[in-house]
């Protein structure tokens, strides 16, 4: 489903190339559940952004669902993204001006769902995440953990085929974290959603079907479970 070949990403810092991803190659099959681990600054978020087409690599080839992403135009990429991907951010990134309900609804608007359909879908997911009572609050009125839940709900609302999650449980307590991991596992097994998550927790990493260790922008080890 996804293939990265010789991907590099560097920043020019005072004339020197500072590699964040260094000649990295990775194949992901449909239905996999991958956990990416590694020390802080090793390039995990960058890799996830590249996979999610939110950021461009400096070098290399990127294929996704049969398309050569590195050759696509912005608009086509955007369409591809809309069709396949849900993204959970490390820093939640909710829109401050919108309520919980509206934040979750937004992807549906952009994907041209009808108003009645949207209502049903949002109600459904609010229920699933147990945040019906918060639907009219603004992000600033929520705790960090609650914001993360909204972020995950928003990523899942449009039923993506691939879920990219950057430390989805970073701000949750261990019980909440476990629930989310259970949810991911269920999505992966029952709905065949391909998941790639970044995590610092060994325990959460074990929910995956493969664990990849990143070090200095390279894959240091890869282990199938």
């Amino acid at each position: 489903m996804l293939s990265l070949q010789h991907i590099s990403k560097y920043y020019q810092v005072s004339g020197l190339k500072n590699y964040v991803l260094n000649d990295l190659s990775l194949e992901v099959d449909e239905g996999e559940f991958i956990s990416i681990m590694g020390p802080s600054g090793s390039g995990k978020s960058t890799l996830l952004n590249v996979i999610g087409m939110l950021d461009d690599p400096s070098d290399g080839y990127h294929y996704f669902a049969g398309h050569a992403v590195h050759q696509l135009k912005e608009k086509q990429r955007s369409a591809l993204y809309k069709q396949y991907i849900g993204f959970v951010f490390q820093a939640y990134h909710l829109i401050d001006e919108l309520t919980v309900y509206e934040n979750i609804e937004t992807p549906l608007i952009y994907q041209d769902f009808k108003s009645s359909e949207r209502k049903a879908m949002v109600a459904d997911i609010l229920d699933k995440f147990n945040i019906v009572g918060k639907k009219d609050l603004f992000p600033a009125q929520l705790s960090g953990g609650q914001q993360q839940l909204v972020g995950i709900a928003r990523a899942l609302i449009a039923k993506p085929k691939m879920l990219l999650a950057d430390e989805p449980t970073g701000n949750l307590n261990s019980k909440q974290g476990e629930e989310i991991m259970e949810l991911f596992r269920k999505l992966n097994r029952e709905d065949k959603v391909t998941i790639i998550q970044v995590t610092h927790s060994e325990k959460n990493a074990e929910y995956g079907t493969r664990i990849i260790n990143l070090l200095d922008g390279k894959i240091a080890s890869s282990k199938k479970l």
């Binding site: 952004n49 999610g52 939110l54 950021d55 461009d56 912005e74 608009k75 955007s78 993204y81 809309k82 993204f87 951010f89 990134h93 909710l94 829109i95 401050d96 001006e97 919108l98 937004t106 992807p107 608007i109 952009y110 994907q111 928003r154 449009a158």
Partner: protein
């Protein structure tokens, strides 16, 4: 989707109330000025456009080519007739000769009513109403004014004179000389015409009225009230016109006059705009207004774009998230457009309210009766709004939509990334430039007017009352003078034609010292008695005043005469001066210091002052202002006893001199108002920008303060930037303003120099206003608690 856009837009504005209100106020001010200026300009452009075939309607006018070129909207009285009878290019030609200051008496039984109309009474040939579209509502157009003794008046006049009675058939007496019977009523004049006469009488009574049959054949003089209008036949070429007017001159003039006299045709659509021919509004000033209006709208737009882009920086994260959630650049673009549309609409409503509130004031200022032309105005407003919306909305929309989501998301989009900062600098410089140009303009106009109103005119204009003299037989004049002199508080009494500076002038050719050839310049003759010099404080520089007499036996001239002759003043004494085609010759006995005989707009003319009781139409009284009220009352009493049939009126000389600068004063008020608004908009913009800067720099300021920076150091973070921008604006504005104002001052023969002080004042003023705005906002930022501002990141 649209509902969603509007909802978000509305919520965003509610969250950023300061941003929204600054944008709305700035934009509303700009649009309101635009609406008013647009109305003003279209109003002036609409003057006399309602006549049928207006492109074929012309006024004949006179030019004299001698030392310089002189022009008059008047023509010799016989010209119109000759043009009509001897040539074929005119389809209809009419003479209309207007007299102002005329007295109208209406007698009904024993009841005598007296009226005086500012716009005068016009002796008019009936064709006038075939040329110009002033329809009759009563009376027969085919016959009115054809026979002598007829008059037509407007509805307004009819109502004023006769109330609700039918005015047709009623009689009025003009200047106690001629009776006229009203045979037609004109529809009231529209506001947008310069042909303001409301009383027309048969041309056939001219001779009877003036008591001078020679006028009808006098080709040698031009009275500015004597006009001739013509409607040319279709397809007449300029060559035909030129040939006709050339022949007119050839037929009626001889000798040197053949080279001096020219007659030309002025198109109808030029009449309102040609000040040389008595037009009201120089198109130059309309253009100036147009540009000021354009400037104001640009400033307001610039302001808005500026704030919108600055504000967009704070929206980077939102835009990033939206992109991640699948929004296309188009979506984002329209979202920003929705926001600017909302602001623009609110601003528009406020602007329309403001315009309605301000229109009466503008009308008062221009003494006009403009109204909003809803049709034209809505086109203007809609186009302006669309321009504003897209200018202000598309920039942030396009720029932010362009970024890769992760860049936008990191919210580390700096000013540099967005490119907006340098754009914003350009915009701020534009705004400052516009306000500086306006400020410099204001300072210069104020200085020039101040100069005009306080400068030494060369004569005394204070505490002088001018009264009309309707009859000038010797006996009446001498008793009247004695009675005035006896009144307490009267210092000098002088009979004259007009004051030293006046809009009414007589000019004639000169022969000096029996030279074979007449001089190539003409002289302005001031008829006045021997008290003229004392009353107006004119200073002799050579010789003496003339002796008291009733007829011209001696002349006093001004220094300009000496200058024109290239002689010293004292050398003129005893030489003979001949004027009015050598009909009047007398020695020069004195030379007075030059005085301004028009406004500062015009050059000082060569002038001769001479007594001649026939020419007196005014009495000038220099009085003591201490008991002004009683003294003025005595004047009225004495005057009314002397002229029981006439209409009393008086005017202080300094008031009538102020009228010379009416247009300048109007302009000044307007420019002051507009400069004020431009500065206000600019300050709003600055305030907004500093606010956004403050938000973006909150963390920097916090850190600096934790590290021990003083408040002044923090202020400098903001101040430095704006000081530089202001200087750049000044460098651009100065030459622009210099150029514009140099052109304005060119119209004044006597003017102030444009010195560096003016520019210095301007930049100082802008600097102070900008500094107050910037420091107010930055002090708020600097005083904020550092811990709080650090945590907010």
């Amino acid at each position: 989707m649209i509902k969603n856009y509007i909802k978000i837009a509305w919520r965003n504005l509610k969250r950023n109330k300061a941003y929204a209100s600054i944008s709305v106020i700035g934009l509303a001010l700009g649009i309101a000025c635009g609406i008013l200026i647009f109305t003003l300009i279209t109003y002036h452009l609409s003057f006399d456009t309602f006549h049928k075939d207006s492109d074929r309607i012309y006024r004949l006018y006179t030019e004299w080519h001698d030392d310089g070129i002189g022009k008059s909207n008047g023509v010799p009285q016989p010209l119109g007739k000759a043009f009509r009878n001897d040539f074929t290019i005119g389809e209809k030609t009419a003479r209309v000769i207007n007299f102002t200051g005329t007295l109208i008496t209406i007698t009904k039984g024993n009841d005598v009513k007296k009226f005086q109309e500012d716009n005068g009474v016009a002796f008019t040939e009936p064709e006038y109403f075939d040329i110009l579209n002033f329809p009759l509502i009563k009376g027969d157009k085919k016959t009115v004014l054809v026979a002598p003794g007829e008059a037509i008046v407007t509805e307004k006049i009819a109502h004023k004179y006769f109330g609700n009675d039918n005015a047709i058939g009623k009689v009025f007496r003009l200047d106690n000389k001629v009776n006229f019977t009203i045979t037609g009523i004109l529809k009231d004049l529209p506001n947008n015409t310069d042909r303001r006469q409301e009383i027309y009488v048969s041309y056939g009574n001219m001779d009877e009225y003036t008591g001078n049959k020679r006028r009808e054949n006098n080709w040698g003089g031009v009275y500015s009230g004597s006009e001739a209008f013509t409607k040319l036949k279709k397809g007449v070429t300029q060559a035909q016109i030129d040939a006709t007017t050339a022949q007119l001159v050839k037929k009626h003039y001889v000798g040197r006059d053949l080279k001096v006299w020219f007659f030309k045709l002025q198109p109808l659509n030029d009449m309102h705009f040609n000040p040389e021919l008595n037009g009201y509004a120089d198109k130059k000033y309309l253009w100036a207004l147009f540009f000021i209006g354009l400037f104001l709208i640009i400033t307001a737009c610039v302001n808005f774009v500026n704030l919108a882009t600055a504000q967009a920086l704070n929206r980077a994260k939102e835009v990033g998230v939206r992109k991640v959630l699948g929004s296309l650049p188009v979506h984002l673009f329209w979202q920003f457009i929705a926001e600017t549309t909302l602001i623009t609409l609110v601003a528009l409503i406020v602007a329309i309210g403001l315009s309605y509130a301000a229109l009466p004031a503008i009308n008062h200022l221009f003494q006009s009766e403009m109204d909003f032309n809803i049709g034209e105005l809505s086109v203007f407003v809609v186009l302006t709004s669309i321009a504003v919306i897209f200018l202000a909305g598309s920039y942030p929309g396009l720029v932010l939509a362009r970024f890769r989501p992760i860049q936008a998301l990191k919210s580390k989009l700096s000013q540099k990334d967005i490119g907006g900062f340098s754009l914003r600098r350009v915009l701020v410089v534009t705004q400052f430039t516009i306000s500086q140009v306006l400020i410099i303009g204001t300072i210069i106009i104020i200085s020039q007017l101040h100069y005009s109103q306080t400068a030494d005119l060369g004569f005394n204009k204070d505490a002088i009352v001018m009264l009309p003299i309707p009859k000038n037989d010797k006996a009446t004049l001498s008793t009247l003078k004695n009675r005035f002199t006896e009144i307490q508080g009267v210092e000098h009494v002088s009979y004259c034609f007009r004051a030293p500076a006046s809009q009414s002038n007589n000019t004639t050719g000169v022969n000096f010292n029996h030279r074979a050839e007449d001089e190539h310049w003409s002289i302005n003759t001031k008829t006045a008695d021997e008290n003229y010099l004392a009353t107006f404080g004119l200073k002799l520089v050579a010789g003496r005043n003339f002796f008291p007499t009733d007829t011209t036996r001696e002349f006093v001239v001004n220094e300009s005469v000496a200058r024109k002759l290239n002689m010293k003043p004292q050398d003129l004494i005893g030489k003979t001066l001949s004027i009015n085609g050598k009909s009047t010759s007398a020695p020069i006995v004195g030379v007075v210091r030059d005085f301004y005989n028009y406004s500062f707009h015009s050059e000082i003319s060569p002038i001769c002052i001479m007594p001649n009781y026939n020419g007196y139409s005014t009495v000038a009284i220099k009085m003591n202002m201490r008991n002004a009220k009683a003294t003025l009352a005595s004047f009225e009493k004495v005057w009314n006893q002397t002229f029981p049939e006439e209409f009393y009126s008086y005017e202080f000389l300094d008031d009538s001199i102020k009228k010379f600068y009416e247009l300048d004063n109007t302009l000044l008020t307007l420019i002051e108002a507009f400069a004020g608004i431009a500065i206000a908009i600019g300050c709003l913009g600055l305030y907004g920008l500093v606010s956004f800067m403050a938000v973006r720099k909150t963390k920097e300021i916090g850190v600096r303060k934790v590290l021990g920076a003083s408040i002044t150091a923090v202020l400098w973070v903001f101040g430095k930037e704006f000081a530089i921008l202001l200087l750049i604006a000044f460098v651009i504005a100065s030459p622009l303003a210099y150029w514009a104002m140099h052109n304005y001052l060119k119209d004044f023969q006597y003017r102030i120099p444009i010195g560096p002080a003016i520019f210095f004042e301007s930049i100082l003023f802008t600097f102070v206003v900008a500094a107050i705005t910037v420091s107010y906002r930055s002090i708020l930022a600097a005083l904020a608690n550092p811990v709080k501002s650090l945590r907010s990141e």
